[in-house]
């Protein structure tokens, strides 16, 4: 397989193939976001990520003022398998050129 064919993006999953071993951003259902290094994926978008930071966003209503309070909870996990059915989008690393 030539290097030209390796790097061509012909179908959507090719974009993810090129992100292997790179830090990616994953948006999940129920206001969850992950950032981590992509080590493995399949056609369901099941993934194994390394050095993962998970951000969970929740909105609470203040009892008295009825103001919306946005809370974000962060945690880090060394290695994580993510089931693909929760995935909304995958974004390759930001290239700071």
């Amino acid at each position: 397989m030539g290097s030209e064919e390796e790097s061509a993006v012909k179908e959507p999953l090719d974009l993810i193939r090129l992100s292997l071993d790179e830090r990616i951003y994953v948006k999940l259902r129920h206001d969850r976001e992950l950032r981590g290094k992509l080590h493995a994926y399949d056609q369901h978008l099941n993934m194994i990520l390394g050095d993962v930071e998970e951000i969970v966003t929740s909105v609470e209503i203040d009892d008295e003022t009825y103001e919306e309070i946005v809370r974000t909870t962060r945690r880090t996990i060394p290695f994580l398998f993510v089931r693909g059915d929760g995935v909304i989008l995958v974004s390759p690393p930001l290239r700071t050129a």
Binding site: D21, H39, A40, I48, G50, P78, L80, F81
Partner: protein, 125 residues
């Protein structure tokens, strides 16, 4: 290492005609089942399975199947104060579809092997 190599698994079970056919079928259709193979190699390790209802269960991985259903042994719920009704559960079967995450033991992740297997699966799938 048998891990993640569809061809290896096909030859591995050659003596058992039926299993061989099934494995060969997966190979031919390109369903190499990377994560199924990966979890099979993790059997015996401690993992934490996080479910879609936020319940997190830690236990020893007993077995896994093609749907990524998981059987855990010696389980304990991570947040026991929140889920006291799970205190007496020591073994459980978890339907694959209710899993959100599986936290993996760092020593059970061979990064290079995963990259190779993923590239192989991306080509075949």
């Amino acid at each position: 290492m048998v891990l993640l190599s569809s061809h290896a698994s096909a030859t591995f079970v050659f003596g058992f005609g039926f299993r061989f056919e099934i494995n060969l079928m997966f190979v031919l259709l390109g369903f190499v089942q990377l994560f199924f193979s990966y979890f099979k190699d993790l059997v015996g390790r401690e993992v934490t399975v996080e479910l879609k209802n936020d319940l997190a269960i830690r236990g020893t991985l007993h077995s896994v199947d093609q749907y990524l259903n998981i059987k855990l042994e010696n389980t304990r719920v991570v947040d026991q104060d929140k889920y006291p009704h799970m205190l007496s559960v020591r073994n459980c079967f978890i339907r694959g579809s209710v899993v959100r995450y599986v936290q993996l033991p760092p020593e059970g992740v061979d990064v290079e092997l995963l990259h190779d297997a993923t590239r192989r699966e991306a080509r075949g799938g």
